[in-house]
């Protein structure tokens, strides 16, 4: 509890982190109130599918009906970016909670027991980290068949190793503490020592880091979607909206920036979302720097 209050006080002192908090709050509001901001047209069943206004390929500029214009295939950009905020939070939450869970289990096994088990688990993470994550994720999505579920699975597969390493490192430090020794001396089982004494004391930095990874996860998911490996066509997703605009970055001779809205708007949403988390993350790193004395 003292940790949280200290963190909050430090954050309030830094104007940049405040901007980060505000950006995140705005996106939270957008995500929560998406059905009110961009109501689903009557007759549609899946709110995550962007309504389209015809099938004409060329994007159309902002109008009263489509405040941010339409992109390739007449998908409404405004609807897409608003519901895309929900997609972003959903992807980030699922990927991070699954990877951190895997990370906790494997990281604590490796860190607490050490020896051969540690060696094996760490070499496995080496293998994952030796291979470019994007290619691995792409191959996985291709094999599993492009869908939102495949993207989530692929991102979890490439994300867990870093958490396993982080948590292992934290556990190695806590393992030698006197209270852990005491619990073991009292005859507590390994499972109990890990769950009750080691993990609660080792997990705080990992949780903070994980929450700040939200921006990075969303950036990676967007990259996959942009490469055409992700959500089905028309799914409210920022990466995919950027991909739609890929053929329209250059307008006709007399109006080179004709389709600016289709290109810039979805990217700006990704940028500000990630920026919010990174601003917060930067402040956190200063706070958690052990060399800066507390209180």
């Amino acid at each position: 509890m003292r940790d949280w209050r200290f963190t909050a006080r430090q954050l309030a002192k830094n104007p940049l982190s405040l901007i980060g908090v505000i950006l995140i709050a705005i996106f939270l509001v957008i995500a929560i109130f998406a059905p009110l901001i961009a109501p689903m047209p009557a007759g549609q069943t899946d709110p995550y599918m962007i309504p389209r206004d015809g099938y004409w390929a060329e994007p159309r500029p902002p109008s009263e009906l489509h405040p941010f214009g339409t992109t390739q295939g007449q998908y409404d950009v405004f609807y897409g970016v608003i519901w895309g905020a929900r997609t972003a939070f959903r992807v980030a939450l699922i990927v991070i909670s699954v990877s951190i869970l895997i990370g906790i289990v494997l990281g604590s096994l490796a860190g607490y027991f050490g020896g051969v088990l540690d060696e094996v688990i760490m070499r496995i993470t080496d293998i994952f980290m030796a291979f470019p994550w994007l290619i691995l994720a792409m191959a996985l999505v291709t094999v599993l068949g492009p869908s939102m579920k495949s993207v989530l699975i692929a991102l979890c597969v490439v994300w867990w190793p870093s958490y396993a390493r982080l948590i292992r490192g934290d556990i190695l430090q806590v393992r030698e503490e006197d209270y852990v020794e005491a619990a073991r001396g009292l005859g507590a089982s390994s499972a109990r020592v890990i769950m009750r004494h080691v993990l609660p004391n080792a997990i705080y930095p990992a949780l903070i880091m994980a929450s700040l990874d939200i921006g990075a996860v969303v950036l990676s998911a967007a990259a996959l979607s942009f490469l055409g490996l992700g959500a089905p066509e028309g799914y409210a997703d920022w990466g995919q909206l950027t991909q739609f605009a890929q053929n329209w970055i250059i307008g006709p001779m007399n109006d080179p920036l004709k389709y600016w809205y289709a290109v810039t708007i979805p990217g700006l949403f990704i940028f500000f979302f990630v920026l919010g988390w990174n601003l917060l993350g930067d402040a956190f790193r200063d706070i958690f720097d052990p060399r800066l004395a507390r209180r």
Partner: protein, 348 residues
């Protein structure tokens, strides 16, 4: 430990890493049924009747480890398979796409490392001054930019708005013709180097024009990253006793910062720079795809999205090799920067 013994021991580490990476990729592709994998080799519906024969000939229905064993055996005999996305053997594909990627890395890596170190040092030396705040905001923004979007925006401005100024691809059509003509020797197939060796100004200029946007796109995120790392490493170094001593001796601030503090702050930056370089040389998938810049990353993207298994495995071997090699080089550079570090041991 003797340098040679150390290098040999580290190179032996290659085998478990490569075995692990390929085993994993192989395992993923085995999720497909033999029929699905066989159909990757046929070009039309009419050839579907050949599927049973293909399965039998390549043993696609045999147990997992036997198929993997066959593949390893082939690789040991120098046969990496056929990359159908580009219609050439995998080995040839790696060698034909590598120069383009190396050319990109050749320009981007020094830019990233020197800019990152320079800006990071400045920010740390002027902590909480305007320089620090401005570079911090720039770094966090650069770090948050989606690479693919940055590429599109740059192209929108420098290719669309300023019509045709900095085009995508590696060379424009007339220059490509020159490069492939009899009077132009392709020593390395790295266009800029070949142009200099052939004393051909127009080709050099054209190649550079095509390189500017991809280099900027790929560098932005990485400069931001190295800069922040350098800053925090530098701040730690500036707080140490030897910096205090140097200041107490009356040395000028410039020498204290550049000689005493920076040298020690470089160590973590070197490691990360190694990874950045490995990442660049391993192919920048997104950047190369956006700018139709046909390098390793572009090839890997084609292979992964069309499930060219032989190519993906070949690429896995290549990147695994690169990863181990770069790690080794980084370790050797360490001993030059920090004499206390001994190869194969810990800091004394």
């Amino acid at each position: 430990m003797e340098l040679r013994a150390y290098i040999i021991r580290r190179l032996l580490l290659l085998f478990p890493v490569l075995l692990g990476v390929t085993l994993f990729i192989f395992g993923i592709t085995m999720l497909f049924s033999p029929i699905e994998r066989a159909s990757l080799y046929v070009s039309g519906v009419r050839e579907f009747s050949d599927l049973p024969e293909i399965i039998a000939r390549f043993g696609l229905d045999r147990p997992f480890f036997m198929q993997y064993g066959t593949w390893i055996n082939q690789v040991l005999h120098g046969n990496l398979g056929w990359s159908f996305v580009v219609g050439m053997p995998v080995w040839d594909a790696v060698w034909s796409f590598l120069p383009a990627t190396l050319e990109l890395a050749m320009f981007a890596a020094p830019l990233i490392v020197f800019m990152g170190i320079f800006l990071g040092t400045r920010a740390a030396a002027h902590k909480d001054k305007p320089v620090d705040h401005v570079t911090r905001i720039l770094a966090i923004s650069g770090w948050s930019l989606p690479t693919f979007w940055l590429g599109l925006i740059l192209m929108m401005i420098f290719y669309g708005l300023i019509r045709g100024f900095l085009p995508p691809g590696r060379l424009s059509v007339p220059m490509d013709f020159v490069v492939h003509s009899a009077g132009f020797t392709r020593y390395t197939t790295i266009n800029t180097i070949d142009a200099i060796l052939n004393l051909n100004g127009p080709v050099l200029l054209d190649a550079l024009r095509h390189l500017i946007l991809p280099v900027i796109t790929i560098s932005t995120v990485n400069v931001a990253f190295i800069m922040r790392l350098m800053r925090s490493s530098m701040l730690e170094s500036l707080g140490r006793g030897y910096v205090l001593t140097a200041r107490a001796k009356g040395l000028s601030e410039r020498i204290v910062v550049n000689k005493h503090a920076r040298r020690n702050a470089l160590i973590p930056v070197i490691t990360v720079s190694g990874y950045v370089f490995a990442g660049l040389a391993g192919g920048a998938v997104i950047t190369e795809s956006i700018f139709a810049y046909k390098g390793i990353g572009w090839w890997a993207y084609q292979a992964a999205s069309r499930l060219d298994i032989a190519s993906i495995l070949g690429f896995a071997l290549f990147t695994g090799f690169l990863f181990v090699l770069v790690n080794l080089i980084v370790d050797i550079i360490y001993t030059r920067v920090d004499p206390r570090v001994r190869l194969g041991g810990t800091v004394q």
